[in-house]
Symmetry: C2
Subunit: 295 residues, 2 copies
C-alpha cells in the first residue's frame, strides 16, 4: 500500500451538501484534528492528536474530514481548522515534519495528508480568482464561494506523472537540482491541459533527458500532500540511451543496473545511489521493478 | 486513440521560461488560433483556422501553445488569445460546438481541446486567490503571477475517475440527472485530496450506487476540455448487485448485459440504451469491455 492512502475516515460526502446534517454534526462530540499551522500534533503513542471544536478559534473555517467509527461503533464527525497560512512549496524540506510522519500509522498518515492538503488549499484561496472578491468556505470545506460574484471554487488536486524508464534491464533515474549527491529517483512532471497520462510521461521523459519513451504502462497512484498532488506511477520503454540533460530541472540523470538499484533499496553504504524515501511512490516503483525481475 | 489526444504541436516548454526566446517567437510569422470566445473557427476543409498575431486585440493575453512544423520542416510558433469570458460549466451542452468538433481531424481536435482548457483557465483566473490582487499572464501562458503579493498560479487540471464496474459479465452504468431517457454511461467522479485513483474509484462507485468495487484496474486516460479534466478510465469488480441510487447525482443506474451494451455500441434503434459519444473515454471503455470478451 502506498503511503498517504488507506484513511479509515468515511468521507460521508452526502453530509457536505446538507447544511442541517452538517450543523448537527458540528457539535461538542466532534473531533478536531490538532494542527500547529500545518504541522500535526503526535501523541506519545505515535497517533494523531485530536481535540474538540472548542479548541478552534471562534471564527475558524472548519473542514469536515469525515466520520471516524470507534471500537464501540460510534461514528464521530472529524474536522480540521484552516490555518492562518498555507504552504505552497512542493518539496518537503521540513525534517521535523518528516520525523513526525515517520512515527504515524499508515492510517493516521493518510488522514493527516488528506487534511493537510485541503486546509492548506483553503488557506491559499481566500479570494475569488474570477473577480478578486472574498471567498468563504462552503459545503463543509469542499467548496469556497465568492461573496461578490458567486463563483464556486473546488479543492485542487494536481495530477503528476512519475515514471521508470527501462532499457535492457537498466533504469533511467534523475537527481533533482539541490538534491544530495547520491540521491536519485524516478523522473516526474505535472500533466498539462490537453494531454493524457501517457502523453505526459513521454513528454516529460523527453524534455528532461532527451530519451524517447514508448509503451507507457500505469502501475500505481498516490496522493502526495505537498501541497496536493496525485502521483501516478508509470513505466515506459526506451530505445535510445543517450541522455541530453535538462539542466534547468535536473542535476544529473543516468542509467542504473538492477544490482545498483537493489543495493540502494537495501540501504548498502557502498551503493552508488540512495533510494527515494519509503513514503514516496518512487520507492514503490523501484521495488516493483526489482520484484518483476528480468523481462 | 482517445479523442483530444495526439496533438502534433511540440509544447517546447524550454521556451516558456526564456523571455528572450519567447519574445523572438512572438512575431509576424506566428500563428494565432482563431477562436470566437471559446468556439473554434473551422474551415471548409474541416481544419482549425489560424490567423496571425495581428488578429489579436492590442492588449490580448497570449498563450504559447507550442511549435507546429509544416511539410517544409519550418516550425511555426502557435498562440491562442485569452477570451473575455471563460466557461466553467463541466458539461458540453452546446450542439454547435459538438457539430464543429465532429468534423475536425483527431490532431486538430487535440489542439483545440488543449488550447481551450488553458485560455479558459486564464479567463477565469484574472485575480490572485491568495490575496485578491490582479494576476497577469507569465511564462508564455503557463503561469499567472500576482502583481500585488507575487504568488504564482499554474493552469489547473482536475483528475477524474471514470469506471466500468463488472459483475458476472454485466456492467454497471448510470444515467445522469437531466440526461435523455436511454443515455447511460460509466460512473465518474473527481479524485479528492488525500486519495489514490483506486480509492477514488471505490468511493465514487459506493457513493453513487451502493456497490462495493474491488480490484480496480487502470485502462486509459484522456484530457477532457470541459473545462480541464484528466479522465482516468478504470475497471473494477463488484461482488454485490443491489443498487442504492444516489439520487442527487444519478437519475438511474442498472446492470447491462454484453448483448445490451453491444446493441448500444452498434447504434441499434431497438437497443435499450444509447452509448456515450465516441469522443468520450466512456465509449472507449465500453469497446474495451466488449473486445475483452467473457473472462
Amino acid at each position: 500500500m502506498q503511503a498517504f492512502t488507506g484513511s479509515r475516515l468515511d468521507r460521508a460526502d452526502a453530509i457536505r451538501a446538507d447544511p442541517a446534517a452538517l450543523a448537527e454534526l458540528t457539535n461538542w462530540r466532534a473531533k478536531l484534528l490538532r494542527l500547529d499551522g500545518l504541522m500535526p500534533h503526535v501523541s506519545s503513542q505515535n497517533t494523531l492528536e485530536w481535540g474538540t471544536l472548542a479548541d478552534a478559534a471562534e471564527d475558524a473555517e472548519l473542514v469536515f474530514l469525515g466520520l471516524d467509527t470507534d471500537e464501540s461503533g460510534t461514528a464521530k464527525p472529524c474536522f480540521a481548522a484552516v490555518p492562518a497560512q498555507g504552504d505552497a512549496s512542493p518539496r518537503m524540506a521540513n525534517p521535523r515534519l518528516w520525523g513526525l510522519m515517520a512515527t504515524l500509522t499508515p492510517d493516521d498518515l493518510a488522514i493527516y495528508g488528506g487534511a493537510r492538503s485541503i486546509v492548506d488549499w483553503h488557506a491559499r484561496h481566500r479570494f475569488c480568482a474570477a473577480c478578486g472578491g472574498a471567498a468563504v468556505i462552503a459545503k463543509g470545506g469542499w467548496q469556497r464561494s465568492c461573496t461578490r460574484c458567486g463563483a464556486q471554487h473546488f479543492p485542487r488536486t494536481d495530477p503528476v506523472t512519475i515514471m521508470l524508464v527501462e532499457h535492457d534491464d537498466t533504469l533511467l533515474l534523475g537527481r533533482g537540482l539541490g538534491w544530495p549527491d547520491k540521491a536519485y529517483s524516478a523522473l516526474a512532471g505535472f500533466v498539462e491541459p490537453g494531454e493524457s497520462i501517457e502523453e505526459a510521461v513521454a513528454r516529460e521523459v523527453f524534455e528532461e533527458s532527451g530519451i524517447v519513451a514508448r509503451e507507457v504502462q500505469y502501475i500505481a497512484s498516490q496522493p502526495w500532500p505537498f501541497p496536493a498532488q496525485l502521483m501516478m506511477g508509470c513505466t515506459a520503454i526506451a530505445d535510445n540511451t543517450d541522455i541530453t540533460l535538462d539542466t534547468t530541472e535536473l542535476a544529473d540523470a543516468r542509467w542504473f543496473t538492477r544490482a545498483e538499484v537493489q543495493a540502494a533499496m537495501d540501504g548498502d553504504a557502498d551503493a552508488i545511489m540512495t533510494a527515494p524515501p519509503k513514503q514516496a511512490i518512487a520507492n514503490h516503483l523501484l521495488q516493483w521493478w526489482l520484484d518483476k525481475g528480468t523481462a
